[in-house]
Symmetry: C2
Subunit: 326 residues, 2 copies
């Protein structure tokens, strides 16, 4: 059996929300590539296992005290005649951006091609990735992975690490009460290996794994890094349309039972600060740090918010003209 | 308030299943046009009501004795700790073709743009349309609507009507036990008018109407038309991947309460046979009648099925060379 690992999607929620261009590119690219690879697998007539990188964000972050299952939900449907119907359904989608929306639409393609053509598919619902190196990339400096710290492509923890390294305030959006799921990049790579080794059986429904190892509130992460590095924390108006605060309980036993041994923040964070963020801080372009993608026009045009962002932005641009100071 | 009526989708399930080309065109066209119009509405900053033509097929046809609601389902989620969470969700999608799949993916776009940008949206989950004329097109022959009777674009009832008119056997797929929802074209037009006049309020969730007026089994329709016209019935292997038999109970009180007065098969069928199918039967190209789109490779390559289809096809092609006989 062959395997296709499908990572070919526009991957940034902020980029997907910048405006019509970003929305259209994200939908056009992400949905067509998924359909193209699926229809190509059908056309090939070969038994190919498709492994796709999805997102924890497909579930939404308002779970009403429930533990988010791995993809499927058991429900009861009252039929109005005193009877209740038991069903298992794909967890109801509740995406928070166009990017996440395309992942929920991918899921419908997977379900259809799996049902109609019997394609074996694994969809990895991944949390926020942090860290830079895997055991392989550590072998030589030239193998090092990219480290995105900017407002569009940088994930929250990596952004905080770089901000701390260049003495930039840690930028928390809103109250920082957003709880998110995290995973270290070396665990991500291991999970893909595990997914390949545990392909669904022929005829089995789409396998969905929650690819995350711990959850944290954004403001707690900022405080943790602040306590390690002395960095200041700046609370800024949230450019995203989302709840200020949310709980998040996630089932992730599939990967743990298959042998994943998580790299936790506790173990990996200081290494990342020293070996990556500080080591390469001279390459940082501060003018790229702030998030400049707004979820709605009214957020974009909110004068009071804009002033707070602009103050910080002004400092960054000044610093950017004197990059040699780092 | 302005209204955009969005009919700009590839509309044939069989076309969408012909092969990679049809699958890719359907996904590319249907999803991009929906996203394009939604992001254009956001960009315009105007309060525009989007009315979209969806399909009853998004629900799937295995409803376990339940009445299909208008878009949303009340469910109970056992949380594993003795508690049950009540939620209202978008009815779980279960599309039967790539075409129907794109409609379920449209629904996720509507939910997202409605939540994020407050766009007013109505999604019409339409049944199989039959009939040709509305009160307006009846005013003059030159206004007459197109009548698709071919295997890709013709809907089942219109196909039967044309088959009866040209003394072609009524082609029933499988046992004909598929139950489907139907609506006359004049009711479709009326429903769109009603949808426009009853736009969702600002901030209201996506309005979903089931746009159908009656349900029938395919074999019962064939028998009805056979009894009216003397046409033979040919049971052929089903080119689609679907259940042989299904029940279908559909809620449709939204439109009825808003004043829709259905044109029923009982009232309209004989008119359609005389005024359209028989009147224009000389234009029929019999070589286009049979369905030549297979849902899977194994159905396409099933020799026994192919022989049954080929026998009928052979007759059609012979007749096609003597079109003057009609």
């Amino acid at each position: 059996m062959d395997v296709v690992i499908h990572f070919a999607e526009q991957r940034a929620a902020p980029y997907s929300m910048k405006g019509s261009k970003g929305k259209r590119y994200t939908v056009d690219n992400n949905l067509n590539v998924t359909n193209n690879v699926l229809s190509a697998i059908v056309e090939s007539g070969l038994d190919i296992h498709l492994v796709h990188l999805g997102s924890m964000g497909v579930y939404g972050y308002g779970t009403a005290g429930m533990k988010i299952p791995e993809g499927y939900l058991h429900i009861k449907i009252p039929n109005g005649e005193g009877l209740t119907i038991d069903q298992e359904i794909l967890y109801p989608a509740n995406p928070g951006s166009i990017y996440h929306m395309t992942k929920t639409q991918d899921a419908l393609m997977f379900a259809f091609y799996n049902k109609n053509d019997g394609i074996r598919i694994t969809d990895l619902h991944q949390g926020v990735v942090w860290g830079t190196n895997t055991p392989e990339t550590l072998l030589d400096d030239r193998l090092i992975n990219r480290f995105d710290y900017d407002g569009d492509y940088g994930t929250v923890l990596n952004r905080f690490l770089m901000q701390a390294a260049v003495q930039h305030p840690l930028t928390v959006h809103g109250t920082g009460g957003q709880t998110r799921a995290f995973i270290h990049i070396s665990d991500t790579v291991k999970c893909i290996e595990i997914a390949i080794e545990n392909a669904p059986k022929k005829g089995e429904k789409v396998k969905i794994f929650n690819q995350m190892t711990e959850t944290h509130r954004v403001r707690d992460l900022a405080q943790l890094i602040s306590s390690m590095t002395g960095a200041e924390i700046a609370f800024l108006p949230n450019p995203r349309q989302e709840d200020d605060e949310n709980e998040l309980h996630v089932e992730n036993k599939c990967f743990l039972e298959l042998g994943l041994e998580p790299t936790t923040l506790k173990d990996g964070l200081m290494l990342e600060i020293h070996d990556i963020a500080e080591k390469y801080s001279s390459r940082c372009d501060r003018s790229k740090i702030l998030c400049k993608s707004y979820w709605t026009e009214s957020k974009k045009n909110d004068n009071e918010s804009n002033k707070l962002w602009a103050d910080l932005n002004h400092l960054d641009n000044q610093d950017s003209n004197h990059a040699d100071k780092y």
